[in-house]
Structure formats: C-alpha cells, structure tokens
C-alpha cells in the first residue's frame, strides 16, 4: 500500500519537475530586460509559449497578444496538471485551482455590470478546472441565473448578496469562502496537512498585504478585520486583530518574527516593492518545504506557483517595455526567484 502511494507521487512529482526545467531561468530575465518588446515576443516564440503566440498572432498584436498568449498557456498548463494527476493529488489540485473559477466568475460579473459584449468577457476568461463552454453558458445567462447556477454550492450565499453589497466586497467574500473551504479540510494524512498548510501560508500572505495596504490608506481596525480571511498559518485571526490595531511603526516591528519576514530590511514607502519581497519569501518557503517532502503535493504546488509567477513576470515585462518604463522599475515589480 505504501509502495503504491509513493509511486503515485513519484510519477506526478517527476513530471512536474521536468516541466519546471522548462520555465525561464532566473538569469534569462536580465537578458529579457535588455530586449525591446518585439525581441521579447520573438524570444517567447522559441519557448513553451510559441504555440499560443502563433494561435493569437493573426488576431492580436503588441502586449495584448502577449497577454492572451500567456493566459492561454497558463490555463493549458494547469489543465495538463489536472489531467496527469490522479487520486488525492487530483482532488487537491482541482480544489486549489477552483480559485480560477472564482476569478472568472468575478470577470463575468464585472463584465455584465459594465455591459461589456460577451466576446470581450470571454477573452478575459482563463478556463482551468472547468472548460470554456461552461463559462460561455454562464456569460449567456443574466446575473440572477448565474447566481442560481451556484445554488447548493458554498458560494451561493455570497453570490445571492449581489447588488446589496459593493462589488469589491463581493469579490472579497467569494475568496474568503474559497479559502475557508480549503482550510477547513481535516488533515487526515500528511499530504493533506501539507496542502492545508500551503493554503494557510497563502492566506497569511493575502492577509498581510491587506493589512499593510489598508493601514497605509488609513483604514480603521474594524474595516481591516472585516476584509481578512480566517485560518491563516501564523497570522491567525487573533494575531491579525492585534496587528490591525497597531500603529504603522509597531506593525512593521511586530511583523519581524513571522515566516514571511526574510531578507526584508524595512517596509518601503512603495508597498508593491515590499510585496514582491514577501512573495519571494513565500516561494522560498514553499521550495524549502517541497524539498523536505519530495513525495507530496508540495513540489506540484511549487511548480504551479512558479508558473503563475513566470506568466506575471512576463506580463509586467511586456507591458513595461511597451510603455517604455525603465528596466529598474520593471525589475522592481517582478518576482524573480
């Protein structure tokens, strides 16, 4: 029994490790930063993104082409991971990637509210654990019907508040439900515990960013607490409550002991730069845990995070180059690990 279990993870982990080798290496970003936009696109045509760039090449150009090609590649990569996994791994990966269903749902709701044509809403969709036809059917429905589609799911209660609460609060609530669903899983075995801890670390990071951003904007502790997600890894709700009531200097000092405080000297004026450091600390922490537990879900989650980070980096690079931002500014926004 134990032998079979290890073999299941060995197959999936080995496959994702080979996929990880195909990611753009850290050193290549320096070369990419010194390229012009068109050179970057040409470079990408020699990588894993070639197929998607060719597919969209007839329809789009400039950063939009890059954007859609990157999204499509990401969606195909995640679909592939779901396809090649089985058993517990498949369940965990699918439930984690449900995040994309929520993001797509938010895009659809936003698009509907802004009267954007269905074709354009469809372009913003990144189908991962559900196919594009599912989202096409959703886009064709009106908002009430969309809400009814989710009847019987944990998201129905939040979705039924649509119109009575501001859209950004609705999005927050949807993500809160998503994370609550994942973190309430009972860790009956090690793989499940590692997965739940991984999600909890992500919750910590989201809460941390929320606290810092809202503090910087001068929000009240109650406002901050209402937007936080419970069940963090180290930032439990009690810890968050304490942090939310602190002054800026006390808050920065208090953060120093947590797992995400690594190689960070101070919280910069420009929060996005510090957030990049937190993201790096997060990815390093996952990598470290994935090395400690090689036959578990963690190496797969690590790859999925790295793929998303690569796509985000290339997107920042593309748009930055298109708008002639300086290399330093672009590099500051990128999470290069």
């Amino acid at each position: 029994m134990l032998i079979g279990k290890n073999a299941t993870w060995a197959y999936l982990v080995a496959r994702t490790k080979v996929m990880k080798r195909k990611l753009i290496p850290k050193d290549e970003y320096r070369k990419l930063l010194n390229m012009e936009f068109n050179e970057i696109v040409r470079y990408l045509e020699e990588t894993e993104y070639k197929k998607e760039i060719d597919e969209f090449g007839y329809k789009y150009s400039g950063p939009k082409l890059m954007d859609y090609a990157l999204s499509l590649n990401l969606s195909r990569t995640y679909q592939k991971i779901i396809r090649i996994s089985f058993g517990l791994a498949k369940d965990l990966i699918t439930s984690y990637l449900k995040k994309w269903e929520i993001m797509n749902l938010v895009s659809i709701i936003r698009g509907k509210a802004a009267n954007i044509p269905p074709d354009e809403i469809e372009e913003a969709i990144v189908p991962v654990e559900r196919d594009l036809d599912y989202y096409r059917a959703l886009i064709a429905k009106d908002v009430d019907e969309i809400v009814n589609t989710y009847r019987g799911t944990p998201y129905f209660e939040t979705l039924s508040k649509m119109g009575t609460i501001p859209p950004n609060q609705l999005e927050d609530e949807l993500f809160k439900t998503y994370y609550l669903e994942l973190t309430k899983l009972k860790p009956a075995e090690l793989s499940l515990k590692l997965f739940v801890d991984f999600v909890k670390m992500e919750v910590d990071l989201r809460n941390l960013k929320t606290i810092l951003r809202l503090k910087a904007e001068g929000a009240t502790p109650d406002e901050i607490i209402s937007r936080l997600i419970p069940n963090g890894f180290e930032l439990t709700m009690d810890e968050c409550r304490k942090l939310a009531t602190m002054s800026w200097s006390e808050l920065v000092k208090a953060l120093e002991g947590y797992w995400f405080w690594k190689d960070i000297e101070k919280v910069e004026e420009e929060l996005s730069a510090t957030e990049v450091l937190f993201d790096k600390a997060w990815i390093e922490a996952i990598a470290k845990r994935a090395t400690s537990y090689p036959l578990s879900i963690l190496p797969v989650m690590h790859y999925m995070v790295l793929k998303k980070v690569e796509v985000d980096n290339l997107r920042i690079l593309g748009w930055g180059k298109w708008y002639n931002m300086s290399n330093e500014e672009i590099e500051r926004q990128m999470v290069i690990v």
Binding site: A7, A10, Y11, L12, R15, M19, I84
Partner: protein, 81 residues
Amino acid sequence: MAEALISDEAFIKGCAAIGAGLAVGLAGIGAGAGESGIGAAAVGAIAEDRGFLGLGLLFTVIPETIVIFGLVISFILMFAF
C-alpha cells in the same frame, strides 16, 4: 516414520531448494518495491521529455542488482549441496 521416508541428503537438498526459492523470491519482491517508485518517476520524466529514456531505464533497473545477488545465492545453494 519420517526418518524412514526421507534421507538426510534429501532433507538438506530440500531445505537448500526452499532457501534458493526464498532468496530469489524475496529479492524479487524487494526489487519490485524499489522499482515501483523509480519506475513511476522515470515514466513521468520520460512522458515529459524523451531525453530521459536512457537515464530513466538505468535508474529503474538499479534495484535489479538485488535480484542478481539473490540469484547468485540460489545458485550457490542449489549446486553446493
């Protein structure tokens, strides 16, 4: 009664044959256990990149050496008595 049916030599040969069987059988089970993980990983790596075929096969058959040891022991048992 048993003494009358089986000679000492036959009894030793029988025990040696059981030992030889166990040596190969248990070594085979051990090798299989070792190969299950390695084989699965090798198949995963090869599915992504054919370049891993040679290396994957090499690593997969490494536990087979245990069976060879078992086989050697079984030969010794079978032909030494």
